[in-house]
């Protein structure tokens, strides 16, 4: 699109907006304040991140307070330090990926059949069960830490990556079940009925239908992955050996152990920790939204 076209387009939108404001001043005001809130929220979230990342690209020991927003020279020294002197790009990353992938697998294996069953079967007290599942998630996690610690110490799972995977999956499964149930609700019953009349058992019919829920499964997988990736309290409490650290715990070290916060290193490390999730979101954003919305099927 040429610059001219772009200008024409802007002019059109501007005219459209002013005409709308003239004709419906009330709704225009509502929209404008909505827009204002969103801009404010964006600045609120983006600014600290931007500051942290700009710190990452500054040469070490050049960050002052108040911070300068635009770095004078781009330097990758912080990243080199992180990569060479810490386990960030090595063990921690492997741990984080293992934990998150494991959580995704567990959540999908549990929530897919559960969501399907809630969507398709006439279960007694279905509504209560559905709400009960959500209630589980409403219990503050901190209240369960000590009992969980006792349980895992008895079972002998303390200081293993599996604990983080398990707890994170347990944390995500309720919402995942709801999401998948909601998505299956938008898939017409006729498809399984066609499969069943055609000779498929209930389970085979389920297997035929599952690929249709891909957008929802994708959204749930992303949600579970990010949920596990960001776990902080769980690994901090249940993990003691440094070789089993995951990213958030490792990031915490930049603040606590060295006394002074090394903003440059923290920024660089945060960026590395965020990158995989950021990439996933950018790549799968459309599918993520589609999975949350549900679809209209035309069979």
């Amino acid at each position: 699109m040429s610059v001219r076209d772009q200008l024409v387009r802007w002019r059109y939108h501007w005219h459209n907006a002013t005409r709308f404001a003239r004709d419906h001043p009330h709704s225009a005001l509502v929209r404008l304040s909505g827009l204002g809130i969103m801009v404010f929220a964006a600045i609120y979230f983006v600014l600290p991140l931007y500051w942290l990342f700009s710190a990452a690209f500054k040469a070490p020991r050049t960050i002052d307070y108040p911070p300068s927003l635009i770095p004078e020279a781009i330097s990758f020294e912080n990243f080199v330090t992180i990569a060479t002197e810490t386990q960030f790009v090595g063990q921690y990353m492997i741990n984080s990926v293992l934990v998150s992938t494991g959580a995704v697998v567990i959540v999908l294996v549990l929530a897919t059949p559960a969501g399907y069953a809630f969507s398709r079967y006439d279960i007694k007290y279905k509504q209560y069960l559905m709400v009960a599942i959500l209630f589980v998630q409403m219990i503050p996690f901190l209240a369960m830490i000590i009992p969980l610690y006792r349980i895992f110490s008895v079972v002998g799972l303390l200081d293993t990556l599996f604990v983080i995977t398990l707890l994170s999956a347990a944390n995500t499964t309720p919402v995942a079940t709801w999401l998948i149930k909601g998505y299956f609700d938008t898939v017409p019953d006729g498809l399984e009925e066609a499969a069943r009349v055609g000779g498929a058992s209930r389970f085979q019919a389920f297997r035929v239908i599952v690929p249709l829920a891909k957008p929802a499964l994708g959204a749930v997988a992303l949600y579970a992955f990010v949920g596990a990736w960001n776990q902080f309290i769980i690994p901090l409490t249940f993990i003691s050996s440094q070789s089993k650290w995951v990213f958030p715990v490792a990031l915490y070290e930049f603040i606590s152990l060295r006394g002074v916060v090394n903003w440059g290193l923290l920024g660089a490390a945060s960026l590395i920790a965020m990158l995989p999730v950021l990439v996933l979101f950018v790549v799968f954003q459309r599918q993520f939204v589609a999975g949350l919305k549900g679809t209209e099927f035309k069979g």
Partner: protein
């Protein structure tokens, strides 16, 4: 191939009785059309036969086998859905072969062969490798038919398969389904709410309302001898003229005319009822220009006309009476505003009990001519 027997089948959902004591048999190789208004229970009945619903009471048998508790997949019944219900993530070939692939005992070659054979029969062999989303409505319907017939099922259930198609395509598919059914000689139940589709396609028609079968018979029987007022109104287009009337043994049936005088139909009924509903199809209303004297004639202005190609309908709205529709040839010179006289042909008048709506057999005077003979019951 087999007969389908429904033995006092009742299906209740919580408070609602969807199918109420349905009891009849569908013969081997027959095409039975289940017709009725929306929500009359016809689809539920079909799903009960297919095994997607279990009857609350009664039994379903296929051939000699009682299948009431047999799951759908073991019944050897194929079902075509109104929504087509094709698997959107599979190709046409995968869709058609689905039912075959669900049977464990078939080799890949044989499946391929039968899919191609079926596709040729439905004239869709060039679509086999397409995705479902690339097909038009009619093509989807063919694929859906193909998926159903490929296994050579014992019975074939069609749940309003033409409802999602446009009018021209529907006519074409009607013919095609009948031809396919005759060629395969397969016992078929076709559900529709479209009475003209029912009459075109069915070997027999079962009219349903409120979960009950109102009448089963061949199309002519249902058309010419509707068992009750509901069927009289439901079957035929435009609908039958229905007027409330009084009956006395002496004079026959009298309808209170507009200008005070009675419109008489010289027909007596066997049972001595006084209040009746009298029905006459638009095709059987006799019409003349101008005013014709005689107690059998009703004179009124044509309120408006409707042109339907080969035929034309005159709408009369006599004072104090319901609308009367008259069928005439489209080249006849009746126009809106013309003064016409009409008379109900006594031989083709239907009499119903005013309260129960049940048909009452009429004694037609011997001299009354009949334009079409009812078919033997």
């Amino acid at each position: 191939m087999s007969t389908i027997r429904l033995d006092h089948v009742t299906k209740r959902f919580a408070e609602v009785t969807a199918v109420d004591d349905v009891h009849f048999e569908i013969e081997d190789g027959e095409l039975l059309v289940l017709v009725g208004p929306s929500g009359c229970g016809k689809t539920t009945l079909l799903r009960t036969i297919a095994g997607l619903e279990t009857p609350t009471e009664g039994d379903v048998s296929l051939g000699d086998r009682r299948v009431t508790d047999v799951p759908a997949r073991k019944r050897d019944v194929a079902l075509v859905f109104q929504s087509f219900a094709l698997f959107p993530h599979m190709t046409v070939r995968e869709n058609i072969s689905f039912n075959l692939r669900m049977q464990d005992n078939l080799a890949g070659d044989e499946i391929d062969e039968r899919v191609v054979e079926t596709a040729e029969m439905l004239d869709i062999e060039e679509l086999l490798d397409r995705a479902i989303s690339e097909l038009s409505g009619g093509q989807k319907q063919r694929v859906s038919l193909g998926r159903a017939i490929v296994t050579n099922p014992a019975a074939f259930m069609l749940d309003e398969p033409l409802a999602n198609l446009d009018a021209n395509l529907r006519d074409q598919m009607e013919t095609e389904i009948v031809r396919l059914q005759k060629r395969l000689d397969i016992t078929t139940v076709h559900v529709t709410h479209n009475q003209s589709e029912a009459m075109t396609m069915g070997d027999r028609i079962a009219v349903m309302n409120d979960g009950q079968i109102q009448q089963i018979g061949d199309p002519e029987e249902v058309f010419y001898e509707p068992a009750n007022r509901f069927i009289a109104e439901f079957i035929g287009s435009p609908t039958m003229n229905l007027l409330s009337a009084t009956h006395s043994r002496g004079t026959g049936i009298e309808i209170d005319g507009a200008d005070g005088h009675m419109l008489t139909i010289p027909v007596t009924v066997t049972a001595p009822r006084s209040r009746v509903t009298v029905g006459c199809r638009p095709e059987h209303v006799v019409v003349e220009h101008g005013r014709v004297s005689g107690s059998e004639w009703l004179t009124d202005e044509v309120a408006f006309t409707e042109f339907h190609g080969a035929s034309k309908y005159l709408f009369l709205e006599p004072e104090g009476l319901d609308q009367i529709v008259v069928h005439v040839d489209s080249n006849s010179d009746y126009e809106q505003g013309d003064l016409v006289s009409v008379r109900f042909s006594p031989a083709e008048v239907h009499v119903f009990d005013a309260e129960s709506g049940q048909r009452i057999e009429a004694d037609v005077p011997d001299d009354a001519e009949r334009s079409s003979e009812p078919v033997e019951r």
